[in-house]
């Protein structure tokens, strides 16, 4: 990164990490995006908003992740036009994001796939829920239409249609396999089944209540989303969260990471035929959840992170129990890791399955755990640490092979690191209040919250309206970036390995459907 970033009207954007903002016209939008691409930035999120009530325009925003900061481009086509230049020219991930922007807002990119993404026939073609002049209370008749999956033809090619309901207790989504015998030639995924209209639901909510909804964007990442929302709101209101509150939030975030990694490691053992692994890891996860309930009042820590801090003080008498648990977990997980690593049958399934090559991961902008398992060094806790991570010195875990084994290894390593962080947080909990009151927010302010959840970096962009209300809130899950990569990782593998490969990615459904 030797070149300077192009100089447009750049201003600081309120955020828990370093973030800048630029208003650009269509030509600059393209130029900046290309520069971002040249600087090896990743497209993090893309969203739009209807500001016709304010200045007669629609707006589209793109957030780019650089190694040390986030850059947000804002483009408002003149005269209330709805067209904008597509970012698929440089960022393949933009394709699905642009489809979602169109379905919600009717803003169309000039290039890319135009099949509906979120609209499955539950509302009419000309109905765009995020436009401020539509009646969203209105009910629409369901018009069910088959989705035009890309067909593969040739001798012996057949299709396997899976979903939206799956064999197990999983979230809804469709997987269309084109296979020859057992070998997968092509996989196409389709989502949107869990679309709950969250962005619309946010509009008009009280800013100080929005964290309840944010906490339910993806239940397994409730701490991360609630924190991202609160970080955005606290940035807008220029509130400094007390050190103790920040430490307790980080403790909760790391425990969320632990719970999910433990659950995944059990599921991965099970999918490889080692039911013993599921029994062991699900017991460890249950023990962690029970201690969560005791110490934080909630098994999954829903609504623990609130604007201004955390909802309750941590009882000092529970700190020894939490420290004991960390030691016990470290020992138990270590033992299980040895068993996994020495088990020939398990390793046979894990190794070389579902390979995501480092080159592909980089080219397609993979994020979070999936990226790190393919050697892409990217972790917000390390790259742009926000409090309290700025004093914790989190270590980035990496693996290189990009197969299921790498994603398993990374989870084991991250458990060890998370336990170290938990210990460090518990041993030096800063004194002081766990909660402060937020001042009222000025209307028309945009703020960002970026948090490294267990899946990867997630973003909440929050804009305030008058009377302390939400004008627009957009949440982005790293699974948007990683889902298309499963389509590549599965190529050449056999169909029965899909559950294992899919589990090793463990991406969000509700989190991307919104």
């Amino acid at each position: 990164m030797t070149r300077e970033l192009p100089r447009q009207e750049t201003s600081r954007l309120p955020s828990n990490v370093k973030a800048t903002h630029r208003s650009v016209d269509a030509a600059q939008w393209l130029q900046c995006a290309q520069d971002m691409h040249n600087h090896r930035a990743m497209l993090l999120a893309l969203w739009g908003t209807d500001d016709r009530d304010r200045d007669g325009r629609f707006r589209v925003f793109a957030a780019f992740l650089l190694s040390d900061q986030v850059v947000v481009l804002e483009h408002a086509p003149i005269g209330g036009e709805t067209d904008y230049p597509s970012l698929t020219r440089w960022f393949p991930v933009a394709d699905r994001l642009q489809r979602a922007v169109f379905d919600l807002l009717g803003m169309a990119a000039d290039l890319g796939d135009t099949r509906p993404w979120l609209r499955h026939g539950g509302w009419p073609e000309h109905f765009f829920p995020l436009r401020r002049d539509v009646d969203t209370a209105e009910r629409h008749p369901l018009v069910s239409r088959p989705y035009p999956f890309v067909a593969v033809s040739g001798d012996g090619v057949h299709e396997i249609a899976v979903g939206p309901i799956h064999a197990g207790t999983i979230e809804p989504g469709q997987f269309r396999f084109s296979a020859v015998g057992e070998k997968v030639l092509r996989l196409e995924t389709r989502f949107g089944f869990a679309h709950k209209g969250i962005a619309k639901r946010f509009e008009g909510q009280r800013l100080h209540d929005g964290h309840h909804l944010a906490a339910r964007i993806s239940g397994d990442s409730t701490v991360a989303y609630a924190w991202a929302y609160c970080a955005a709101l606290e940035s807008i209101t220029a509130t400094a969260v007390p050190e103790r509150a920040a430490a307790l939030r980080a403790l909760a975030l790391e425990r969320e990471r632990l719970a999910n990694h433990l659950g995944d490691l059990g599921g991965l053992g099970n999918d490889a035929g080692l039911a013993f692994g599921l029994v062991q890891f699900s017991s460890l996860k249950e023990q962690l959840l029970r201690l969560n309930e005791e110490a934080f009042g909630q098994r999954y820590l829903f609504d623990y992170v609130v604007p201004g801090g955390v909802v309750a003080e941590l009882d000092a008498r529970l700190i020894p129990a939490l420290l004991d648990e960390a030691s016990r977990l470290e020992q138990r997980v270590g033992g299980l890791r040895t068993i996994y690593e020495n088990h020939a049958g398990v390793q046979d399934r894990f190794r070389d399955a579902g390979v995501l090559s480092p080159a592909l991961a980089k080219a397609h902008g993979a994020l979070g755990l999936v990226a790190r398992a393919s050697g892409v060094a990217q972790d917000l806790r390390v790259d742009m640490p926000w409090p309290p991570y700025d004093r914790l010195q989190a270590r980035m875990m990496l693996a290189a092979s990009g197969d299921v084994a790498a994603r398993v290894q990374l989870r084991f390593d991250e458990i060890t690191e998370s336990l170290r962080l938990c210990r460090s947080l518990l041993e030096s909990l800063p004194p002081g209040p766990h909660l402060v009151t937020l001042p009222a927010a000025a209307p028309g302010r945009l703020g960002l919250g970026l948090i490294e959840g267990w899946r990867g970096p997630l973003l909440v962009a929050l804009e305030s309206a008058a009377d302390d209300r939400v004008r627009r809130c957009h949440a982005h899950d790293p699974s948007w970036q990683n889902w298309p990569l499963i389509d590549y990782a599965i190529i050449g593998n056999i169909v029965p390995d899909f559950p294992l490969i899919n589990k090793s990615f463990n991406l969000a459904y509700s989190g991307i459907d919104g």
Binding site: L142, K196, K200, G219, G263, V279, S282, S283, L289
Partner: protein, 170 residues
């Protein structure tokens, strides 16, 4: 192999049994007898996520861990609605899932029960009813049992399941 056996021995039995019945309810062994009489020792559940945030799914998964040991009591999740006695639904029923949900319900043999799990399935929860959601399960198919919570913990879920067996008392 030795490591695995040693770990199993050290872990021991974690099963904490079914939730303790309140005075109004039948004693536990009676409930189990009912389970045996009514369902032939087996209650089969088909779960459908109708747009939940996945919080409820986490607790449904937890039912199978060694502490709650659901399968040990003859209750299991099945892949096909044709094998199911109970349809367990989570989420505020997104319009994008209505058709799949209706088809699943229609595919189940009689007698069948519908269990709405979580605040979203019960009343829409934080998502409510909108252009994208029906807002509650009984807007789409009839519901027999409602289990509230955001998410309901495993013991509450188990209690809801036992309620179904009580209703089928002979």
């Amino acid at each position: 192999m030795f490591d695995i056996l040693t770990t199993i021995r050290r872990t021991g039995l974690l099963d904490q049994g079914l939730p303790k019945p309140t005075a109004a309810e039948a004693p536990r062994d009676q409930l189990q007898r009912q389970l045996q009489t009514v369902f032939g020792r087996a209650l089969r559940i088909r779960h459908v996520d109708a747009g939940s945030c996945n919080g409820c799914e986490l607790e449904i998964h937890a039912l199978s861990n060694p502490y709650y040991n659901l399968e040990g009591y003859g209750i299991a999740f099945v892949a096909s609605p044709r094998h199911a006695d109970v349809l367990m639904i989570t989420g505020p029923v997104t319009v994008n899932m209505v058709e799949a949900l209706e088809r699943t319900y229609a595919a189940m043999p009689d007698p069948k029960w519908v269990m709405a799990v979580g605040d979203c399935a019960a009343c829409g929860g934080v998502f409510g009813a909108s252009y994208a959601t029906r807002g509650r399960v009984d807007e789409v198919i009839p519901v027999d049992i409602v289990v509230n919570g955001c998410p309901p913990d495993p013991v509450t879920l188990l209690t809801g399941l036992l309620e179904i067996t009580r209703r089928r008392e002979i």
